[in-house]
Symmetry: D2
């Protein structure tokens, strides 16, 4: 057990986000973990690491879309695994629709969901989306399906479908468009569990559409096996977390004996005590060989919408200063 | 706003689980919600309701497999939507392997995950599974894949695959076997995100296996539309929660104007404050039309392994007593 | 590390709460911990243990008052440490006022707190109390203060004050009355942080009232030191948790080398990851010597209002059956 | 209900903490709440507000001591209400002792608490303190007690005691010393629940020490009543949260009809679902009149060690820029 003295934080007017991250590095609890996440991310970026990002939770509706698109364009991440909902909301924004935040009223923050239903608004915590956004989504997605050639039993992988969607978007802030532009694959194993899935069902009632449930795994596993070093940035758990980590289960040991991910950063508000995978510690993943026993890994218990921009701004500062020297 | 007086709980030696549930009905907080969950479940069962259960979290490893299998056999549930991991662990038990609980040592409950790795044990919170269990799983699953006829571009839905697995099991405590015996479909939209997915990938390197990502949705949505009344029992959130609720989005309004689920019980330790769907309130689902604005619905914030057996024992008592009269 | 096979739960119509607890003992996660809590409590009761209960969270408003009063009367607990608010609400009920639960409306469970303010109702999650209850409390508490003889610089300890209150109540379901009847001391170190504290301040503007902040500690520590074996039942953390555990810090080692509590059960929804004491593990308490390194201890992550009645009913059954044999 | 479009965050190299806070203001979820907390704090500071800070959780051990001391010195806060433990650890640091962070080992982050006990180290999550620190504390505190004149039944309030301690410290980074230097009162209603309380007990076995449980309330309530505007910054809930808010219960309405706090910021990882006060919403406090129905208030669900330095750095930047113009 290595012990280091806790050092109190000092803040000051005008300090940069990276200044703050460095101040927090002397702290314990979440502050120390946040500082460690910045350090690990910086090391990942300098160490020729193939970086997998897992995206769960309604991060796109909440405003993290631009951050993630930026990470893709700058190749701060190399592989995306996401829930279907985040893709749905990425498309909605790319098509010109918006998400709206309910400002706390003066008197109360109560919400009348039955009333929202009557007004054609769909709620995600403190966000609403209008029904029309989903109508426009349907039209767009059907066009994508039409363009896929499913005659002659032609099958598509899910990542081929997400790529086809990205190719039909022009918004540079879009995750899917940015991924296409940057040659970053977007995996979405549970895509059926989203509006895209629902429209696929409607479409399949009258036309052919063959998307294979397992075809993607080969590409994902090949990327893992071909990488010199591997890193995982897990936002929020869920299917993306496990889908990323399980690739390590079928990869052979490296020549130097390494197995599992070399780096891992997990940002979540879920905790281990309920036994579910979303809140499981990264240490637990070591027992499976998903993360190397000597990996640099940290779990940060935080709302992703706070931690992710903060970490990214700090890491960008460091990478920029590295370039200059 | 209807107000009822909080009544203090009275416990006594030998009281039944249902006696306790009835005592809790006078309480507020979790106790009151638990009592309400029992009441809603009882009403669901008496009201000719088609009951969908969503299973997320490591419930099978923790010992809930027999409970869920029992619910299927007694048709306390009619449709299962689950994570892939719960199926994997169901198969492992059905093949004669076991999960093991780490008893708290006398001095400490620390865990050495690197050590577990060396011993061939994979940890799930306070549970371990031996690597051999997964080796036996691989052999079994490959046999299932071999039996599927994928020549001539024959495609399977995921539920057809889960059914094929169940048909090859003989353990009456198995979820998959019980589902086959009881004609209950088992949906698993993110099946790629599991050991079954990994073995499908390995298999596909040398043989044909075509499982469609979207084929299941028709069956699921038809069941919803054909049902007189619908109920959802959501254990732990995740993909199963949304996959069940989104069926309601494409179903037409009932003749009497109802839309969405008529009953819903959600048991989770996740809370709404992180904005993710797993912890979203059932009221939020009303804004989407996933749950009817007049539905009877309750969220119980609890470890599922505590609440589910308790609720089931209470409801069984009531249903049994109903039969007698 | 001792491993035991996880055994699936089997429920049945009419099963008793203790039957259920025994079924859960084969499970992992919360179910296993709940079963272990029952076992530890049973062992405490059979082992001539002095049992300290810590009460935090709005347990009395939620309906746990009768349970706790019953535990005191049956000497399932020997020492009470509580927040001031639970005493306030205990008095309110004893004076004939009630707490009211807001039944979920059909359409929505939203709450209009500004509206409640206008109606003279004070909310505690899904409970409301009427302003009149607090008016009656004030009158009662002032009467108690009047009866204390604070002439000549006579000082009272906080537990002397809680005892004086209990002596003036006649409701057998009251915690304070039950404590007086059963000779169980009630400590409340943060009593200033409650309506009792507010009325003490008002009273002191015109009359003498001397209650010492530290006088209680002697009695509490003496009880700990005089006990053959000691056990702690911690409901919800907070000041009561630490106040109970810190008594062990100043007690000398037992002749047989034991130090700290011999038994501990903690029921909380707080988790360790924020670093605060309320969610701290019982293992952490071992590093301080608050709990013995060989103590039997379990933390159950659960809403107390669910877990406490369940544990109590199971333990009562076992103790009753023990008596018969 | 006022709706504003969610705007995606853009980060950049070298951006300041306040730049980040402004970017987050277009987001929903935690990011939006954090930005709102910065805005509210800025408004508090510009609006001649008397600012009460509540400190719960092991913030001093984790490294927040310097931040809080700085807030006191700059009069970013005017009144402190804290747990006893934070004072204990403030004194320990002021006396030259330190807290130590356990760096995650390469292989595992497990902890052996029994082993720590043997080594004389006391653990607080990922922090340890050496037993010697507490030995030095004892000596220091006894000296303070010796200096108090308790002859002739002289009584002290708790805040008089904390002031006496601060007067005997010389470390400018100390909360207690900073408070004395800045004429900021430090209230600690549950001081008995701390090492200071334990040493008071030991001291009282041989000498007189009279500290009154209720004497502080007059000063606290007077400050509230005399303030033009009032604001609360609640870190982590617990006794400090309620003790601050309950002052509003006995204050008369302002001439303009206002009652309760005018501003409130709550930073916590606790959520409302367990019904306890620590996680209760600020809206709930409006039903009691603790917070004004038109108050500007926000709850930020976050580890305080992350959020507090971030908010402070952003607010300092704004206040500094205001000065310049």
């Amino acid at each position: 057990m290595r012990l280091t003295e806790v050092k109190g934080v000092r803040t000051r007017s005008g300090m940069s986000v990276d200044d703050l991250a460095q101040e927090l590095s002397g702290c314990a609890f979440g502050a120390g973990r946040l500082a460690r996440a910045v350090d690990i991310y910086e090391e990942m970026l300098k160490d020729d690491t193939t970086k997998f990002i897992g995206i769960a939770g309604a991060l796109v509706p909440a405003g993290m879309r631009t951050v993630i698109a930026h990470m893709i364009r700058e190749r701060y991440v190399d592989v995306v695994v996401t829930t279907g909902a985040n893709l749905v909301h990425d498309i909605i924004e790319a098509l010109g629709h918006h998400h709206y935040k309910m400002e706390e009223s003066e008197a109360s923050d109560t919400v009348d969901d039955a009333g929202l239903r009557g007004q054609g608004m769909d709620r995600i915590y403190d966000i609403v989306v209008h029904d029309e956004a989903f109508a426009m989504l349907e039209e767009f997605v059907r066009g994508i399906f039409d363009d896929l050639d499913c005659s002659g039993n032609q099958r598509y992988s899910i990542s081929a479908l997400t790529k086809a969607i990205g190719e039909n978007l022009s918004d540079r802030d879009s995750i899917l468009k940015s991924a296409v532009d940057s040659d970053v694959p977007v995996f979405c194993p549970a895509i059926a569990d989203s509006m895209i899935g629902l429209h696929a069902w409607i479409y399949k009632q009258t036309a052919a559409l063959h998307v294979d449930a397992f075809d993607d795994m080969k590409e994902l596993i090949d990327i893992f096996c071909d990488a010199k070093r591997t890193g995982a940035i897990i936002l929020g758990g869920g299917v993306p977390k496990n889908f990323i980590f399980q690739t390590a289960l079928v990869a052979p040991q490296r020549d130097d004996g390494r197995e599992g991910f070399d780096y891992a950063i997990q940002i979540t508000t879920d905790t281990p005590e309920n036994g579910g995978l979303s809140g499981a510690t990264l240490d637990e993943a070591k027992s499976w060989g998903k993360i190397g026993v000597k990996a640099k890994a940290v779990t940060l218990y935080s709302d992703v919408t706070i931690a992710l921009p903060l970490i990214l701004a700090a890491v960008q500062t460091r990478m920029h200063e590295n370039k200059k020297t």
